[in-house]
C-alpha cells in the first residue's frame, strides 16, 4: 500500500513540469526543498522528541558556506554543496554538545539562542556575509541552471535524502529515538546511552537541514540573513506540527501547505508574519497532533 502511494507520488512529481508553467514548477521546487528541511526537523522533534527552535542555524550555515565558496573562492558548485552540508553537520556537532547539556525548556531556549547568535554574526559581518543585503547572484551548477532541470535535480536529491531518512527511522536507531522520546529513563534503564542517540540524531538532522539550505541557495540564487532568522525556524516547526510530527510524510505535506499558504497570502497582504503567528495559535488550540495525526485517528494503523 505504502509502496503504491510512493510510486504515485513519484509519478506525479515527474510529470509535474509537463502540465504546469515555470512559475508553478519553481514553486514546487521550493516546496520540495523545504519538505526536506521539515523532515530533518521531524527527525529531531517527532522521533527523538527534541523540540528545537533554532533549526534554521544549519539551513543557513550550509547555504552561506555554499554561496561563499562558489562566489568568493570560485569552487566547483557540487563541491560547494557538499562542503556546505559538512559545515552544517559540524555546526550541529558543536551545537549538539552544548544544547544537549540541557533538557526540556532549557534545550528550547538554547537552540533558539544559538541560532540567533549565528543570525547576529551574519548580520554584523558585512564584509563576509553582506549583512542584511545578503549574497546575490549565486550561480547554479551549469547542468541544472534552468527551472525545469533544477526541479528534477531537486526531486532527485530530496528524494534520495528522504529515502535515507525513511531508512533511518525504520532502523533500530530510529526505534531507539522513539523510545527516548517516550521515556528516556526507561531507555537508560534498558541500557541505552540516550545522550549518544540524541546527539547522533541532532547531527544527522543538522546535516539534512544543511542539504536543504544549500539547495535553497541554488534555488533562490541568493542567500540572506532570513535563512538564519528565527522565522525560518518557526516556519519549519510549524510545517512539522501542522503535518504531524513523527511521520516524515506529514511534515513534507506540511511544508507544501505552508508554501502554498505563504504564496497565496503574500499576494494579498504583507502580513504573512501575522498569519504565521495566528496559524500557530490556531493549530495549537485545535489540532496538537497535526493534520496527519487527525488522519491517523480515523484510520488507525495496525502493526
Amino acid at each position: 500500500m505504502k509502496l503504491v502511494a510512493a510510486a504515485a507520488v513519484l509519478a506525479v512529481l515527474i510529470a509535474l513540469p509537463f502540465g504546469l508553467s515555470e512559475y508553478y514548477v519553481s514553486l514546487a521546487t521550493r516546496m520540495i526543498i523545504l519538505a526536506l528541511f521539515a523532515m530533518s526537523l521531524d527527525l529531531l522533534l517527532g522521533y527523538a522528541g527534541l523540540a528545537s527552535l533554532g533549526h534554521a542555524a544549519f539551513f543557513g550555515v550550509s547555504a552561506y558556506a555554499t554561496a561563499l565558496l562558489v562566489l568568493r573562492a570560485e569552487w566547483n558548485p557540487w563541491l560547494s554543496l557538499v562542503a556546505g552540508v559538512a559545515l552544517a553537520a559540524l555546526t550541529g556537532a558543536v551545537y549538539g554538545l552544548l544544547a544537549l547539556r540541557a533538557r526540556g525548556t532549557y534545550f528550547l531556549m538554547i537552540t533558539l539562542a544559538l541560532a540567533q547568535v549565528l543570525w547576529g554574526i551574519a548580520f554584523g559581518w558585512r564584509t563576509m556575509t553582506g549583512g542584511d543585503d545578503g549574497l546575490p547572484n549565486v550561480p547554479r551548477p551549469d547542468v541544472v541552471a534552468d527551472t525545469v532541470r533544477f526541479y528534477y535535480f531537486t526531486v532527485l536529491i530530496v528524494g534520495l535524502g528522504a529515502l535515507v531518512l525513511f531508512r533511518i527511522v525504520r532502523s533500530p536507531f530510529g526505534y531507539a529515538l522513539r523510545g527516548i522520546r517516550e521515556s528516556e529513563t526507561r531507555m537508560l534503564a534498558l541500557g541505552y546511552d540516550a545522550w549518544l542517540y540524541k546527539y547522533l540524531a541532532f547531527v544527522l538532522a543538522s546535516a539534512f537541514a544543511g542539504l536543504a539550505g544549500s539547495l535553497y541557495a541554488y534555488y533562490n540564487k541568493f542567500v540572506g540573513i532570513d535563512y538564519l532568522h528565527v522565522v525560518r525556524s518557526a516556519e519549519a516547526l510549524l510545517m512539522v506540527i501542522l503535518g504531524g510530527a513523527g511521520t516524515l510524510v506529514g511534515p513534507a505535506l506540511g511544508a507544501a501547505l505552508i508554501v502554498i499558504l505563504e504564496n497565496v497570502i503574500s499576494a494579498y497582504t504583507q502580513r504573512w508574519l501575522l498569519v504565521l503567528g495566528a496559524i500557530y495559535v490556531v493549530v495549537t488550540l485545535l489540532a496538537p497532533r497535526g493534520l496527519v495525526g487527525l488522519v491517523l485517528e480515523k484510520w488507525p494503523r495496525s502493526k
Partner: protein
C-alpha cells in the same frame, strides 16, 4: 581609568534592563513552568505604546504607567484565555507564546511602521554626569537605580510574603496551595501579568537607550535567554547577576572587539553550558 568606569556603568545599566526582562521570564517560568516567548513582544509593545503616549501627552511618567499597565493586562489576558488551557503541556504553551510573538511583531510593524524610533527622555533625566574626563548620561544612573529598586521589591516579594513563598515552592505545591486557600488560578494570572509588567518596564525604560524598532523583540528575547541560561532559569539572583554579567560583557565586547559582538554573548553561554548547564543559580 575613566574609560573603564564609563564602560562599567554602561554595562551595568544595560544589565539592569536585561535584569528586568530576565526577572519577568524567570518569575513566569519558576511558578508556571512556561517559557514565555512573547516576552520580547511585551518589551517592544511597551516601547511603542510609551512612545505614543509621550508624543500625545509629553509625560514620561504617564508613558511608563500606560505602557506597563496595558502590557500587563495583555499578559493577563493571554494567560487567562490561552495559556491556561494547556496547563502542564510545555510544548503547547511554548508554541502559543511563539505564535503570539510573531503576531505582535507584525502588528507592531503595521501600527507603528518600520522606522527605528527613540523614546525621548524627560528633561530632568537628560543631563550628564562627569566621570573623570568622560561624560555619562544621567539616564544610565537612573536605570541602575530603578533596577536595584525593582530588584529589592522583588526580593522582598519573594522572601517576605506568603505569595512569594508559594512562588519559591513552585508548581508542585499546587494542591497544598489550594488547600491553604490560595487561589492558584488568580495567582498564575497575577504572576504572569507581573512578568509582563517587568518586560514592559524594560521596554519603556529601554526606549531612550536602545531605541524601538522592528526586530528589537527578537534581539531582546535572545539577550534575556542568554541571561537566564547564564544566571539560571527561575532564580531572581541569577537574573540580576546574569543580567549584569551579560550587560558588562556585551558593552566591553562592543567597545574592544566590535566585529566579534555576538561572540561576547556566545562565549559565556557556551562556558556555562559546558560547566554548569543549569546556570549559576539555577535549580534542577
Amino acid at each position: 581609568m575613566a574609560v573603564w568606569a564609563v564602560h562599567t556603568i554602561n554595562g551595568i545599566s544595560f544589565g539592569m534592563l536585561l535584569f528586568l526582562l530576565a526577572a519577568g521570564l524567570s518569575l513566569i517560568y519558576g511558578l508556571m513552568k512556561i517559557l514565555n516567548l512573547t516576552h520580547g513582544s511585551y518589551y517592544l509593545l511597551a516601547g511603542y505604546i510609551g512612545l505614543s503616549v509621550v508624543r500625545a501627552t509629553g509625560s514620561f511618567f504617564l508613558a511608563i504607567l500606560a505602557a506597563t499597565v496595558a502590557v500587563a493586562l495583555l499578559g493577563a489576558a493571554m494567560e487567562r484565555f490561552f495559556l491556561r488551557r494547556f496547563h502542564l503541556d510545555e510544548l503547547a504553551q511554548t508554541l502559543l507564546t511563539f505564535g503570539f510573538l510573531f503576531m505582535f511583531a507584525d502588528l507592531a510593524l503595521w501600527i507603528w511602521g518600520g522606522n527605528p524610533q527613540t523614546l525621548p527622555k524627560p528633561a530632568w533625566l537628560s543631563g550628564s554626569v562627569e566621570v573623570g574626563d568622560r561624560v555619562v548620561p544621567l539616564y544610565r544612573f537612573f536605570l541602575i537605580a530603578v533596577g536595584l529598586a525593582v530588584g529589592a521589591f522583588l526580593w522582598w516579594f519573594q522572601e517576605g510574603t506568603r505569595v512569594g513563598a508559594m512562588l519559591r515552592a513552585g508548581v508542585d505545591d499546587e494542591e497544598t496551595a489550594r488547600a491553604l486557600g490560595i487561589n492558584v488560578s488568580l495567582l498564575f494570572t497575577l504572576v504572569f501579568a507581573l512578568g509582563a509588567f517587568l518586560a514592559a518596564l524594560g521596554g519603556v525604560l529601554g526606549g531612550p537607550l536602545l531605541g524601538i524598532y522592528p526586530g528589537a523583540d527578537f534581539e531582546v528575547l535572545l539577550l534575556a535567554f542568554v541571561v537566564v541560561i547564564v544566571g539560571g532559569l527561575g532564580s531572581l539572583k541569577g537574573a540580576l547577576i546574569g543580567g549584569v554579567l551579560v550587560g558588562l560583557l556585551d558593552n566591553f565586547g562592543k567597545a574592544f572587539f566590535p566585529e566579534l559582538a555576538m561572540f561576547t554573548i556566545f562565549v559565556p553561554m557556551a562556558v556555562i553550558l559546558a560547566v554548569r548547564p543549569t546556570g549559576l543559580f539555577g535549580r534542577e
